[in-house]
Each structure stands twice: as structure tokens, then as C-alpha cells.
């Protein structure tokens, strides 16, 4: 197929990065295949030289806790043809969003920190900030669903035969 590769971005917001860990463990079995088929345009966990442009599919982990992250997520969206939310925090907001459900007394207790670190009043899931083309649920994300979504992208972008 002329060596065309899927241009992938891997992004992590507020969470425990468990879906990134699942992805890194999947590399145990898939590294050779992925090196042939995927160009990692942006993956902070794997490399320093990253480019935020011309991304075919962005995988986004974690919940959105502040305006800075929300703006960065919008920038990712603008530079990606497809955006897929991965793992519970990205898909549902929880558990990263647990402070949304605190009672008023606990909210008051933590308010000075929310202010000090410019955090938003509410923690948001990814789809509350940008348009999402797909979701991979699970805490961490379910391996088979991720692999099938990735395979779907490889076909959709003409990297492997449909």
C-alpha cells in the first residue's frame, strides 16, 4: 500500500494514565506491526519531538479540569481528522471528576486550591468540550475494543485494505 501510515496522536489529560499503560502493554505484541503501519505524530509518553498537525486520529485519555486543557483539546481537535475518547475519565469524566459530586462543605474546603491552580468549577468529560467521533470505555480502556477501533482507522485511512 505504498508505505502510507496512519498518523496517530496520543494525548493524556487528568487521569491515572491507565489506558496509556494498556497501550504500552499492547506494544509487547504489536510493536513490529505498529512500526510499519503507524506514524506517531504526537505521543509525549514515547518521545520528545512531537508535532501537533495533520493527525488522522487522536486518542484522548483523561478528563478536562481547566481552561488551559480545554483550549489544548480544541487545538488537538482542529488538527485531527478523527478524535476518539479512551478510558472512563475521558468518556464519562469519572473518577477524575469526583470533586463535581462533593458536598458543599468539602467543595468549600478545596476551593482555595481550585483557585490557586486556575481549575474550572466543574471537571468535564471530553465530549463536553469537543466533538468526539468514537469512545472506548473501560477503566482502563478495553483492549479488544481499542484494537478493533484502531483496525477500523487503519482501513478508513487506506493504510490496510478494507
Amino acid at each position: 500500500m505504498g508505505g502510507k501510515k496512519l498518523r496517530v496522536g496520543w494525548f493524556s489529560f487528568t487521569c491515572c494514565e491507565d489506558s496509556t499503560m494498556v497501550f504500552i502493554e499492547l506494544m509487547n505484541d504489536h510493536l513490529d506491526e505498529w512500526r510499519k503501519l503507524i506514524e506517531f505524530r504526537h505521543a509525549r509518553v514515547l518521545k520528545k519531538n512531537n508535532t501537533l498537525s495533520d493527525i488522522d486520529v487522536a486518542f484522548v485519555e483523561g478528563a478536562i479540569t481547566n481552561d488551559k486543557d480545554a483550549n489544548y483539546l480544541k487545538e488537538i481537535r482542529e488538527n485531527s481528522k478523527k478524535l476518539i475518547a479512551i478510558g472512563a475519565c475521558a468518556v464519562t469524566g469519572m473518577p477524575a471528576a469526583q470533586r463535581n459530586n462533593f458536598d458543599q462543605e468539602t467543595k468549600n474546603e478545596i476551593q482555595f486550591l481550585i483557585k490557586r491552580f486556575d481549575q474550572a468549577d466543574r471537571v468535564r468529560k471530553v465530549s463536553e468540550v469537543v466533538k468526539v467521533d468514537g469512545e472506548i470505555p473501560g477503566c482502563p480502556m478495553e483492549e479488544p475494543i481499542f484494537l478493533s477501533a484502531l483496525q477500523g482507522c487503519l482501513k478508513e485511512f487506506g493504510v490496510v485494505n478494507a
Partner: protein, 432 residues
């Protein structure tokens, strides 16, 4: 002296945002005056998730499932430590088989987590590459071996704990599933296959010339058999502290620009992690490991922070050897453990997570719910010592280019193997 624009300069400023190839998010801010570092600030920029508040009122028996979500990579450490704190709070002693399975699940995590950090994050620095994806064909064999070692750790956790990230079988007081005979047999073969690879990587990290020596106090649990759990807390200066009293020896240090609270030990900076364990406890590793790594152990005790990676590489071999021994020596049997009876109390759990000493103190009320909790994670304890080391590194390289010094700072931070997710997720505003 000629100086080009890329030099830091005698009055310079370095800001490094989004440190790469670490767990989580962090940044560094350094101000230089008269060729001296005025300050070096390491900020953990991961947003707080307020776990310490969120656990209040939650059922104690299912709490480990929740605190496992503090950290993706060392979830097994959080789950296990939390389960032990709950058991100690209600006065429950798990069966020998449960303790054995816990020990094995910690070895699986140690192999997998250290392998990820060493091979994916640090190895590219040694070979002058940006990424594990950039190694050329002649190095394919080495990379293949790296992923095989990591895979064996992953499979050990899967066989014992159900899965490697947020294990599903481990609970307060028991494991809900016992490893199957066939799976254990396959696992022993796999661990034996990767042992030689793991040893080769010890050689690679031993030969690395990366160096930053500094005096600090090393702190770890002194475990009888280097099992990462049990024993007293010890330090380089000879302190011996029962785990239940660890809280009395540490002080919280609020670092206003960082989303994580730092800690001092007896009022001073200190370091936890593989280097501390190797400096304080190396003679108690498995005999087969000691025999194989004898030539490398001469490096310890060490003040070179980069030897933290050599220590991790050796711990991978030890974890493989000890797991093989335990798996070969035991038949796992279905058992019906004594049920956990809820009563009010306070309990401490402590163990050595991959990045160092992990501490949980939980109070359980008579309804079986959490009254309050204290949790101290390794990266919080290393935060002050890391910052000081960064400052010293910059002063030692004051004439280097900005690009060079930035690379050196990242490399040093990776040597410490910080975990920003862990570090940023605890803060208790008021203990009540």
C-alpha cells in the same frame, strides 16, 4: 568568553514545559543570577483529583478498587497497600496463600513497571535516540528482548491478579481467583526465558556513564527477603522505625507552585525508590540473583542518582528469580478465607512501590466506612530532593547550551522515575 544566543547566560532563565517520557505531567522553571541557580522549581502540573477527600464515607471493603485508580502504572501497589491498611484497621490477618499471591502480584508489577521506565523512557537516552520507536534494524533484537521482559511481568500480573492494570482478583482479605496450574506452568517457562534478557539490560545500565552524585538520606523498608513488603523503615543514618510510626517522622512541605505536596524526613530532604532499596537492602535479594549480579553490586552503596536505573534493572532480575522460586515451590489451592468482620479502628499499610515507599493510614468506623485517610506516595517524598538535584545539575553545566541543559534536566528527572499522577492526587486540607 564568547557566548552564543543559545547559551543559558549568567542571568538566564530556563522553562521546560511538558517533560516527556515520564508518567504524568510536570514542568521545570529555573532562574539564574551571577552563574548561580537562584531557584529551580519542579512543578507537578497534573490536576488534583482530591482522592483523600473522595474516600471519606466510602465502604472500606471496596476502597482498594477505588484507590487503585490513583495510578495506572503502579495500581497494584495502591490496591495492595490500601487493602493492608483496611485489614490492619479492622484487625484481620489474611491467609498465607493470600500473602503469597500479593507478593507475586507485586513482583509482576515491579517487572512490568521498571521495564517500561527503563526500556521505553531511559534506554533511548543511553543510545542517543528520541524514542524507542527510532531504534534501527541492528537494534531490533534488543528492543524485542525489552518487550519480552515487560510482557513476562504483564503476564505474571494477569495470571495472579486477573489483569496488570487495576487487577481484578485482589480484595481485602483474599484473592477471588486462584492461579490455574497450566497458566502457572507456562508462566514459569516464560520467566525463565526472559531472565537472561533482563540480565543483559543490567549490563547496559551498569556501563552507562551518566552521573550526578549527591549526598542525601536514603529511606526504604528493610524487608527480610527483598519482597517489597513488611519490615521496618530504615535510613542511611541508622534510623529504624516501625511502619505504624512513619507518619511521626515525616513533615508535609507545601510547595505553592506544584499540585503535589512535598515531604521531608526528620526535617530534611530524602530519597526513596530502587536506589534507596539497593543501598540499604541489597544483601537480602534472592541468592540466584546475587550470584548473577555480583559484579554489578560493587556500584552500591551509590550516591549517583543515575544508579537508580541500575538498581531498577537489578530488581527486575530479582523479581523474576523470586517469582520462579515461589511458583515452583507452591501449589495453589481453592480456599475459603475467614470473612472480614467490620469493626472500628485505624490501620497503616506500607510497602515498597516501584518508585519507593508507599504509606496508607485509614480510619474505619463501625459502619465499615472510611472516616479519614492519609496517603503518602513516593514522588511526593522525592520532590524536594529532585528539585535540589536539578539546581545542582544546572550549576555544574552553566556553560552548556540551553538545548543541552534542557536535555540533561529531562534525563535526570527520568532517572528519578517520578510519577506525577500519583503525586498530585492527594491532599487533605484538614485532618479530622
Amino acid at each position: 568568553m564568547h557566548r552564543d544566543e543559545t547559551d543559558i547566560g549568567p542571568e538566564g532563565h530556563i522553562h521546560l514545559e511538558g517533560i516527556t517520557k515520564i508518567e504524568g505531567h510536570g514542568s521545570v522553571d529555573i532562574r539564574i543570577r551571577d552563574r548561580k541557580v537562584k531557584y529551580a522549581k519542579l512543578s507537578i502540573t497534573e490536576s488534583k483529583r482530591f482522592y483523600t477527600e473522595a474516600i471519606v464515607g466510602k465502604p472500606a471493603l471496596s476502597l482498594p478498587l477505588m484507590t487503585s485508580r490513583v495510578c495506572g502504572t503502579c495500581s497494584i501497589a495502591h490496591l495492595t497497600c490500601c487493602a493492608e491498611a483496611v485489614e490492619n484497621a479492622v484487625g484481620y490477618t489474611p491467609s498465607d496463600q493470600t500473602l503469597l499471591l500479593r507478593e507475586l502480584s507485586l513482583y509482576g508489577m515491579m517487572i512490568r513497571d521498571h521495564a517500561m521506565h527503563l526500556y521505553l523512557f531511559c534506554l533511548p537516552d543511553i543510545y542517543g535516540k528520541d524514542s524507542v520507536l527510532d531504534f534501527d534494524d541492528s537494534q531490533n533484537d534488543m528492543i524485542k528482548k525489552a518487550f519480552e521482559v515487560k510482557g513476562a511481568g504483564n503476564n505474571l500480573s494477569k495470571v495472579v491478579g486477573g489483569r496488570a492494570i487495576h487487577e481484578t482478583y485482589a480484595e481485602v482479605g483474599k484473592f477471588s481467583h486462584i492461579p490455574e496450574k497450566d497458566a502457572v506452568k507456562k508462566l514459569i517457562d516464560e520467566l525463565k526465558d526472559v531472565r537472561e534478557h533482563a540480565l543483559e539490560f543490567v549490563g547496559i545500565f551498569y556501563k552507562s556513564t551518566f552521573k550526578l552524585e549527591r549526598d542525601t538520606d536514603f529511606v526504604s523498608l528493610l524487608t527480610d527477603d527483598y519482597s517489597f513488603r513488611g519490615g521496618d523503615v530504615v535510613d542511611t543514618k541508622g534510623a529504624v522505625i516501625p511502619e505504624g510510626r512513619y507518619w511521626d517522622y515525616v513533615d508535609k512541605v507545601v510547595i505553592p507552585y506544584s499540585e503535589a505536596t512535598g515531604y521531608s524526613f526528620e526535617g530534611k530532604e530524602f530519597m526513596v525508590g530502587a536506589l534507596a532499596r539497593m543501598n540499604l537492602n541489597r544483601d537480602r535479594m534472592c541468592k540466584s540473583t546475587l550470584d548473577s549480579v555480583r559484579e554489578y553490586l560493587g556500584a552500591f552503596p551509590s550516591k549517583n542518582i543515575f544508579h537508580n536505573n541500575l538498581a531498577q534493572a537489578i530488581e527486575v532480575v530479582h523479581s523474576i528469580d523470586r517469582s520462579i522460586e515461589l511458583l515452583e515451590a507452591h501449589d495453589f489451592k481453592e480456599e475459603t478465607p475467614e470473612p472480614v468482620v467490620i469493626k472500628a479502628g485505624e490501620g497503616v499499610g506500607m510497602l515498597e512501590a516501584p518508585r519507593g515507599t508507599l504509606y496508607y493510614m485509614l480510619s474505619v468506623n463501625k459502619q465499615g466506612r472510611i472516616g479519614y485517610g492519609r496517603i503518602i506516595v513516593p514522588t511526593q517524598q522525592n520532590q524536594i530532593t529532585m528539585e535540589k538535584a536539578i539546581g545542582e545539575l544546572v550549576e555544574q553545566n552553566i556553560d552548556a547550551s540551553k538545548e543541552r541543559i534542557t536535555f540533561e534536566i529531562e534525563k535526570l528527572i527520568r532517572a528519578y522515575d517520578p510519577c506525577m499522577s500519583c503525586a498530585s492526587h492527594f491532599l487533605k486540607v484538614k485532618w479530622s
